[in-house]
């Protein structure tokens, strides 16, 4: 059981280069499942490796349960890690792979045996204990990698994109396996991924990173519904949120935005008053865009020409170009059918779900 706290954690590989992790501050509660999410190169793996002790900490402070860990070697941090490549020892049997980490700790022989057997039991690896990793399937290897972490009974579990080498079906089942593992063990876990579905389904909280910095930390739905900036807004959700350039038009204290040729009145709850002429970004998720004219107050109509239709069966993704607007508009509508490519259609935008971002990309929406 452990609280992991990162205070301004910074990693610089080469002096003069931009930091790989830049003042990452994060407080991970006891038993929490924290997901570090971001595009490749955003610093999430570097941060994880600093927590693990595989990477030295350039600046800042890492503590576990209040004890500063900066100078403590990896082996003494009582942390286990599951690697993307599994990192199973190819020359050892599954059993020895599981036991290898215990042999270096003061654990008695019989205790090692007991733990290995019980972990193999839970992960359904018992029939494969004598096999070498190369004789296992991808899913089995993944379970051995998990088992190797579990058997250590560490304070903190770290996962570095553990599912990215699996095929789609296995990914789903292993995902739920990890989720149930977290429920059962109640241990603190830090999980790195670039897959937002994994992040949304697994995380107690999500930490979204970009360019070495923390963008936003919060529960999955909070982060989804209240993105603090355009990066988070555009990164989460599939298809991502529409981000349209907009200008404030009316008199001082007004909330009317011009998007291309359309003007729309954003409710004061979604946007504080701005002075006219300010360049903002109007954000709306595809699921808050419908086909057809505005059904009434609280909606606005954006007209555009359909450029792409992706019929997925249960829903259809429609992309349209708006006149004099640099970004396209994407709508996610239920069912199939509807317009064809080249048709000029109107889209009803739910202004109650609108997000508005300032010139610096930060959200100005009041929640």
């Amino acid at each position: 059981m452990a609280v992991v706290s990162l205070k301004d954690l910074t990693k610089i590989y080469d002096r003069g280069h931009a930091p790989a992790a830049d003042k990452v501050s994060l407080e991970i509660g006891d038993g929490e499942f924290m997901v570090l999410l971001g595009p490749s190169g955003c610093g999430k793996t570097t941060t994880l490796r600093m927590v693990a002790g595989l990477e030295s900490i350039t600046a800042g402070e890492l503590s576990i349960d209040g004890a500063v860990m900066n100078a403590i070697p990896a082996k003494d941090r009582d942390i286990a890690m599951v690697f993307q490549s599994y990192a199973l020892y190819p020359h050892m049997s599954v059993k020895n792979n599981l036991a290898f980490g215990l042999r270096r700790r003061s654990v008695s022989r019989s205790e090692i045996e007991r733990r290995v057997v019980s972990v193999a039991e839970t992960l359904e690896l018992t029939p494969f204990l004598q096999r070498k990793p190369h004789a296992l399937s991808g899913g089995q290897r993944q379970r051995v990698a998990l088992g190797r972490a579990i058997v250590r009974d560490p304070k903190v579990f770290l996962f570095d994109e553990p599912l990215s080498n699996l095929d789609a079906a296995l990914r789903v089942s292993t995902r739920s396996e990890i989720a149930s593992l977290h429920r059962r063990l109640g241990a603190t876990m830090i999980y790195v991924t670039h897959d937002q579905v994994e992040a949304m389904t697994l995380g107690t909280r999500i930490c979204i990173m970009n360019g070495g910095r923390v963008m936003q930390v919060g529960s999955p739905l909070d982060v989804y519904h209240q993105p603090v900036n355009t990066f988070v807004a555009g990164f989460l959700g599939n298809p991502p949120m529409n981000l349209l350039p907009a200008t404030v038009t009316d008199a001082p204290g007004g909330c009317t935005l011009a998007i291309g040729e359309t003007r729309l009145e954003v409710p004061g709850t979604r946007m504080p008053a701005h002075s006219p002429g300010a360049d903002l970004t109007f954000g709306i998720r595809p699921e808050n865009v419908r086909l057809g004219e505005a059904p009434g107050a609280g909606f606005a109509t954006l007209a555009g020409t359909v450029t792409q239709i992706e019929a997925l069966g249960a829903e259809t993704i429609i992309t349209a170009g708006l006149p004099n607007v640099a970004a396209p508009l994407t709508a996610r509508v239920a069912g199939d059918g509807g317009p064809g490519v080249g048709d000029r259609v109107g889209f009803a935008v739910d202004l109650g779900a609108a997000h508005v971002f300032g010139p610096d990309g930060r959200a100005v929406t009041q929640s």
């Binding site: 490796r49 082996k75 690697f83 020359h91 980490g101 270096r104």
Partner: protein, 272 residues
């Protein structure tokens, strides 16, 4: 047409094979015939086969000593060069540090050195330190001359071991030294076997350093022994043939068991 082309091809290949292997067959046959028989017909079949020539050659000369010397020197040198080379190769492949490539290049470039550049001084140095004419002295020199090739082959293998494995072992609580022994070394065993066999054969055949650094009969290695044996037996071709075969056989035996590994080792780096 296709069949004809194929037969011509096969003929060519068989012809070349006879050319490559013929001399060995010839010696093998002579090794079982007496010199009188050979002088009667140099290309005759061993009939009857005089197997007793092998024990004769073995016991009538110092073959047992040469064999034992070669074995001691070569085995010790191979063990040492493998350990030293593997440690260095692992270090150069795994750790990133500023002089890494410089050290690698310095060690590796020795491969093109002509042996003359060191041999005269090595003679002086070994005399100075009382290692001239000693098995230990020659053994140490053998370690030095095989080190670059060993590091070259092993470094490229170690470099292919994913670094995640080392990180995992580190989190499992193992020190760098233990990681080398318990993770890197066992995983690299195929490559290590290759270098062991390769070094063994190259050193087993080594002549130049042996002839300069060893003069005493009791310390002669096999290639020196053969040279000596020829000197002693003069025109007794049959006996020399037997002596040659005794020297060849260990190599052939190793080759029979490890031909693929050996070919791999010798061609390593040449294919690009």
């Amino acid at each position: 047409m296709a069949a004809l082309r194929k037969s011509i091809l096969l003929l060519l290949l068989t012809g070349y094979t006879m050319f490559a292997a013929g001399p060995f067959v010839w010696v093998a046959m002579m090794s079982l015939r007496t010199t009188t028989e050979i002088h009667h017909d140099h290309f005759g079949f061993p009939d009857p086969a005089h197997w007793n020539k092998y024990p004769d050659a073995w016991f009538n000369s110092n073959y047992a000593t040469y064999f034992a010397n070669s074995t001691q020197i070569v085995v010790a040198a191979v063990i040492l060069v493998t350990l030293i080379g593997a440690m260095a190769a692992h270090c150069l492949a795994r750790y990133r540090f500023r002089l890494n490539r410089v050290i690698y290049f310095v060690l590796f470039s020795t491969i093109i050195f002509p042996p003359q550049i060191t041999i005269i001084s090595l003679f002086q140095i070994l005399v100075q330190y009382g290692l001239y004419n000693s098995k230990i002295g020659l053994m140490l020199v053998y370690v030095a001359i095989q080190l670059p090739l060993t590091i070259y082959i092993l470094e490229s293998f170690f470099a292919r071991i994913p670094s995640d494995l080392f990180d995992a072992a580190r989190m499992d609580g193992y020190s760098d030294w233990e990681i080398f022994w318990k993770v890197a070394f066992p995983i690299a065993l195929p490559a290590i076997t290759t270098t062991v066999i390769l070094n063994f054969i190259l050193l087993w055949n080594e002549f130049l350093f042996a002839v300069v650094l060893i003069t005493e009969e009791a310390n002669r290695t096999l290639p020196l022994g053969i040279q000596r044996f020829i000197g002693d037996t003069q025109e007794d071709i049959g006996m020399i043939a037997t002596g040659l075969m005794i020297a060849i056989i260990p190599v052939i035996v190793i080759y029979a068991f490890f031909s693929e590994k050996l070919i791999q080792g010798m061609t390593a780096g040449a294919v690009k």
